[in-house]
């Protein structure tokens, strides 16, 4: 319980730092929001008035305090460019898309990687292992925009199984939603699966040398039992760590995949906002992504305790 409290306090500190960093970075952007709103050729009085209205003349720190104060109440402000939408509304629309893609990609990647890594590690140095090793290396060397394009070429243009550039929300029916999410999720999962397979295979091979694996075999346990029940859990620490990082990364920056499939996710949102100099939007989006990232990594830390009982009383 004390450990839990300490974790929460640490999290809060990290989040505070992250939000401050975000705010600072955005304020370093060369675009002047007042100019963006007013456009070129405005009178200097109007410019000065606009800056006053936006609070841009206040000291940086008090602006941060204001922004943080309203952000804590759930108010991330309004977009400064037309259609002047509420930032949190736009995020609420984009976040489910990104989360769904990231989670689906991750689940698919795990479904591919775990059996493949176990099979490969069990036959270390054998033909299967070599094929898997070469295959994952090949996939890793293909950038995701190319993999996405290839998938689109084969499944959309050539086979015509999937529509392109369409998205339907979960509210429009699960089947339809999954159908439209399938190709982007596969694109995302490919590279992650290759990474996961390599990491898990290597850790499994190390674990399989352990005495307790030999002991489990000497008890007459089947190879499947030995792999799943004895070897998998002690081998999954690097995998869980990398997964946490990957999940955070996927939620914030599946930009290329979202762009390829024209999906309205967080990546598209933040890139669009940065393009138009919409600083309130960038601040809000980056803050949400950062919070998610930090939370996921905190969960990863907590999962170590579940995976290894020896770290529980630390």
């Amino acid at each position: 319980m004390r450990k839990f409290l300490r974790t929460v306090l640490e999290l809060l500190a990290v989040l505070l730092l992250v939000s401050f960093g975000t705010f600072m970075l955005v304020s370093l952007l060369p675009n002047d929001p007042a100019v963006i709103i007013l456009g070129e050729g405005h009178p200097p009085e109007a410019y000065e008035a606009k800056r006053q209205e936006l609070g841009l003349n206040d000291p940086l720190f008090s602006r941060y305090a204001d922004w943080l104060g309203s952000a804590l109440q759930g108010d991330l402000g309004k977009s400064i460019v037309p259609p002047y939408s509420v930032v949190s509304d736009r995020i609420a629309a984009a976040l489910p898309v990104s989360v769904q893609l990231a989670v689906m990609g991750m689940v698919l990647a795990m479904l591919i990687a775990v059996p493949l890594a176990m099979w490969s590690a069990y036959n270390e140095g054998g033909r299967i292992d070599r094929v898997v090793s070469a295959g994952t290396f090949a996939v890793l060397s293909v950038p995701s925009f190319l993999a996405g394009l290839l998938l689109i070429m084969v499944f959309v243009n050539y086979l015509g199984w999937f529509p392109r550039a369409e998205w339907s929300r979960l509210s429009e029916g699960l089947g339809k939603n999954l159908f439209h999410a399938a190709l982007p999720a596969v694109t995302i999962s490919l590279m992650e699966a290759a990474t996961f397979t390599r990491i898990l295979r290597n850790d499994l091979i190390t674990t399989l040398q352990e005495d307790y694996i030999l002991a489990a075999k000497a008890k007459g346990m089947s190879p499947v039992h030995v792999l799943i029940s004895d070897a998998l859990r002690p081998s999954s620490f690097s995998l869980i760590t990398v997964m946490g990082i990957a999940l955070g990364r996927l939620i914030g920056s599946t930009v290329i995949v979202e762009y390829l499939f024209a999906l309205p996710g967080m990546g598209s949102l933040v890139i669009g906002a940065a393009d138009t100099g919409d600083y309130t939007m960038v601040q809000g989006t980056v803050l949400v992504i950062a919070v998610i990232y930090v939370l996921i990594n905190a969960l990863v830390d907590l999962s170590y305790g579940f995976l290894d009982p020896r770290t529980r009383r630390a």
Binding site: Y212, L214, A215, K219, G220, M221, P223, D230, P234
Partner: protein, 352 residues
């Protein structure tokens, strides 16, 4: 294997209706430098309820022998095994993987050297025990748990019910080794292979664990192969002792005869190297010079000859085979075997 009067007498592992027969066992491990002959022609038998102590230096092949007898090491990959291992008449080395799994943990149990690494750190003690009980004895969850508690009790672990829910790291080394023994005994095996079961433990705990093994063997009537680098561990606990050197038995004899009347110079040298209480202090121990041979290219002739004080010219040509002493047991079986051309005898001026 038939013995005629014209041929020299050979060790026949099939007489006396044994539980385990090991016949001309060879285990080679392929290394980049060539085939390493870890076990190079081991023959012995083990009767029901009997304890065989196997003693040898590090690298003498005793652990590899134990694992080959169990079938954990078999031909394939970088291993090459020849010879026979018959457990209750069934050939271990020619079994399929599935058949072997039926034998492991049920007919044969194994106790490992280091209890710190032989238990899975993320599994509860109870799970270690119940999974083998479910696999072999086909017990359901509740029955398996009760039996697991019974087993912990049997190996002298206090508060067994509470211990079932503990993890290995919550127990001491001695307690963990008791758990390892309980796992090996879970399904009442006919044969227990204990590979250096006390080497990783401190001395007071060593005695407790050895006493426990001895008590359990008497209670459960299983045969035991007790592997150790320490003659003292085997003394008084084994019925017979095999002294292993460079992948072979240098001498195989009933324990009392081996200690009282060693025939092989290696055995004699090992016995002489044991420190004795009655020796005056600060006297050099009678250590054996040199190191065991490289088993990729073992020496011709007797493997011990390069280190043997009694070696003569003829020792370096043909390896000596096991030959019996004159004594027989009541059944007329030869029980004391040694592999030496110039054995220790009482009129030989040795280095005693």
């Amino acid at each position: 294997m038939t013995t005629t009067t014209t041929e020299p007498v050979e060790l026949n592992p099939y007489e006396e209706d044994p539980l385990l027969v090991v016949d001309a066992l060879h285990t080679e491990i392929m290394t980049p430098r060539g085939a390493l002959k870890a076990v190079d022609g081991v023959t012995f038998s083990l009767r029901q309820g009997e304890t065989l102590g196997v003693v040898g230096e590090s690298g003498s092949g005793k652990s590899v022998m134990g694992r080959t007898v169990m079938g954990l090491y078999r031909s394939g990959g970088n291993m090459n095994v020849s010879g026979q291992v018959l457990l209750e008449g069934e050939d271990i080395q020619s079994m399929t993987a599935r058949e072997l799994r039926r034998v492991w943990g049920s007919k044969v149990g194994m106790v490992f050297q280091d209890p710190m690494t032989a238990l899975n750190p993320v599994k509860k003690i109870g799970t270690h025990l119940t999974e083998t009980l479910k696999e072999h004895s086909k017990l359901d969850g509740k029955a398996a748990r009760n039996r697991a508690e019974e087993l912990l009790n049997l190996v002298g672990i206090p508060e067994p019910r509470r211990r079932l829910d503990q993890f290995p790291h919550e127990m001491s080394g001695g307690m963990r080794q008791r758990v390892v023994i309980a796992i090996a005994l879970a399904n009442n095996p006919r044969l227990l292979i204990a590979d250096e079961p006390t080497t990783a433990l401190d001395v007071t705990v060593q005695k407790q664990i050895l006493d426990l093994l001895q008590r359990l063997q008497a209670e459960l009537g299983m045969a035991v192969i007790l592997i150790s680098h320490n003659l003292g561990v085997v003394a008084g606990r084994a019925d017979r002792v095999g002294v292993m050197y460079a992948g072979r038995f240098a001498e195989l004899a009933p324990a009392k005869q081996l200690f009282a009347d060693p025939r092989h110079h290696y055995t004699r040298a090992l016995l002489a190297a044991i420190p004795k209480l009655e020796q005056p202090p600060h006297v050099r121990l009678d250590a054996i010079e040199g190191a065991p041979p490289n088993m990729v290219n073992p020496p011709h002739g007797c493997r011990f000859a390069p280190r043997c004080r009694a070696a003569q010219e003829d020792c370096t040509h043909v390896p000596p085979r096991l030959v019996p002493t004159d004594q027989s047991n009541l059944m007329g079986h030869k029980r004391h075997w040694y592999a030496c051309y110039h054995p220790v005898s009482h009129d030989t001026p040795g280095g005693e």
